[in-house]
């Protein structure tokens, strides 16, 4: 009988309890321990299962209230893995306090990096561009509302998938979870969302050009200058406020002229 056979498997109820709590992982975000309070809260259904008495539960919380940070969605990989390691710790001390702590610290970097690259840099902007394109090309308020609902679904399918898969994969893999936290594992999703984003951006450029043409030649010039100006300022100098404010100033000048 292998070690994993002895482990008590996570029931659907456990997965649901952890998943629900994982939505609040950043609720008590602070500069000292970052997401540790929310992380402990998400782990608490497992802790109550694993810990035999009050003292063990208090020890569990003390161990996990130290510094920890992760991307909010990808934190579920750590939650799943720690749930397994805590069970293993109780069973035969295969995982001890020190190794669990070191393991958690080692996960911080990959969880943050993959989460940012995958969700914040691609899936979120791509979904929003999809929504913006839909709004630009529809006039009816009902259609617009429908577009927003579609956008919400488009974004939250990968979002919920990452959270659920993170808990399950983390629990199955334990110490080996780092093999799952690789950007390559999400490449297909990233390529698909990038395609949606880029096609949407192309459509938006044409749509706004059409709006400018309907106004006057100054508007066409204004659109061209603000778009290329903002692109270059962002790319070369990482500027954000300046291009937006400059575009407003140009709008005033063109409006007055």
């Amino acid at each position: 009988m292998t070690q994993s056979d002895k482990l008590e498997k996570l029931s659907l109820r456990d997965v649901w309890a952890v998943l629900w709590r994982s939505f609040f992982v950043q609720a008590a975000w602070n500069f000292k321990s970052m997401i540790s309070v929310g992380f402990c809260y998400a782990l608490s259904p497992i802790a109550k299962k694993v810990c035999k008495n009050k003292e063990e539960y208090i020890d569990f919380l003390k161990r996990h209230l130290g510094f920890f940070n992760a991307h909010p969605y990808f934190a579920s990989y750590a939650i799943g893995a720690i749930a397994r390691l805590e069970q293993e710790r109780q069973l035969n001390n295969k995982a001890n306090d020190e190794t669990i702590e070191k393991f958690k610290n080692a996960l911080i970097g990959p969880l943050g990096a993959v989460g940012d690259q995958c969700c914040w840099a691609v899936i979120r902007p791509a979904s929003l561009i999809f929504g913006l394109t839909g709004l630009a090309f529809t006039d009816n308020l009902i259609w617009k509302t429908g577009v927003l609902l579609l956008t919400l679904i488009l974004y939250n399918i990968p979002h919920i998938y990452i959270r659920v898969q993170g808990i399950l994969d983390g629990y199955r893999s334990g110490f080996d979870v780092y093999k799952k936290i690789r950007i390559d594992n999400y490449q297909k999703m990233i390529v698909l969302f990038k395609a949606v984003a880029i096609i949407g951006l192309g459509m938006l450029v044409v749509w706004n050009l059409d709006q400018a043409i309907r106004l006057d030649w100054k508007a066409i010039l204004l659109f061209t200058v603000t778009m290329f100006g903002a692109f270059i300022m962002r790319l070369k100098k990482r500027m954000f406020y300046t291009p937006v404010l400059l575009s407003m100033v140009l709008a005033i000048i063109v409006g007055v002229l």
Binding site: S44, L204, F228, F231, S247
Partner: protein, 231 residues
């Protein structure tokens, strides 16, 4: 006053989605603005502002633990103010859109400060938890999470009210003297904002390998516009 309280409360609840809970996207201007628009009785304005504000903030990413300008906070504040002002000065609608977008940029700075304050305050919960655990007292983590969320809502709600009341009073003194022609600035501002927003967003997906996809987008957009024009 009752409408202002409702708008600020809904805005504060939506702001939870920004980082504290769920993060399902509803705090983004694209969603928050129409929701507030429906509640405030002007869904069209909500959609219009949501579109413009979202384009401005699309390229901003919350990387790691960095506190970035809170575009969602600024946008929600801007929409609340716009709904209030357009009701009182409907003849200046396009100029109001221009003004509230500037106000939204300022609001993003206030938002970053508010988030920093809340995160500092959250440290107290951690310290209390650790103290209780040191005394071997069990703690109710669910209660801590609930209190931190309520505190988050209360702070954001108060800041939204203060910001809106100050701006509404100030601009309310100025706007009766504004000529309707000033709306021209608003028309051009929308083109300029979309231009700047697209320029900023294009930096997220740059590279020669994407040319074909951009071309597909341009052709598809062109075809839809052409079809609409013919129709």
């Amino acid at each position: 006053m009752q409408e202002l309280l409702i708008l600020c409360f809904v805005g504060a609840i939506l702001m939870l989605d920004n980082a504290a809970a769920f993060q399902i996207l509803v705090s983004q201007p694209l969603f928050a603005s129409p929701i507030l628009g429906w509640i405030g009785g002007d869904a069209t304005l909500g959609f219009q502002l949501g579109f413009l504000l979202q384009l401005i903030w699309l390229s901003n990413m919350p990387i790691g633990a960095a506190v970035v300008p809170e575009g969602n906070f600024g946008s929600i504040a801007a929409v609340i103010l716009a709904l209030r002002l357009v009701k009182n000065f409907p003849q200046l609608e396009y100029f109001i859109i221009f003004v509230v977008i500037l106000y939204g940029l300022l609001g993003s700075y206030v938002g970053a400060k508010t988030v920093t304050f809340i995160r500092h305050w959250n440290q107290q919960y951690l310290q209390r938890l650790l103290l209780k655990l040191k005394q071997n007292n069990p703690v109710q983590l669910g209660w801590v999470i609930f209190v931190s969320l309520v505190f988050n809502v209360v702070v954001v709600f108060v800041v939204f009210i203060v910001m809106t009341v100050i701006m509404e009073k100030g601009l309310g003194l100025l706007f009766p003297y504004m000529p309707e022609e000033i709306n021209r600035i608003g028309h051009h501002a929308q083109i300029a904002i979309i231009g700047a927003g697209l320029g900023l967003t294009l930096t997220l997906f740059k590279g020669k390998r994407y040319r074909t996809l951009y071309l597909i987008g341009v052709l598809l957009g062109g075809a839809i516009i052409f079809y609409d024009t013919i129709g």
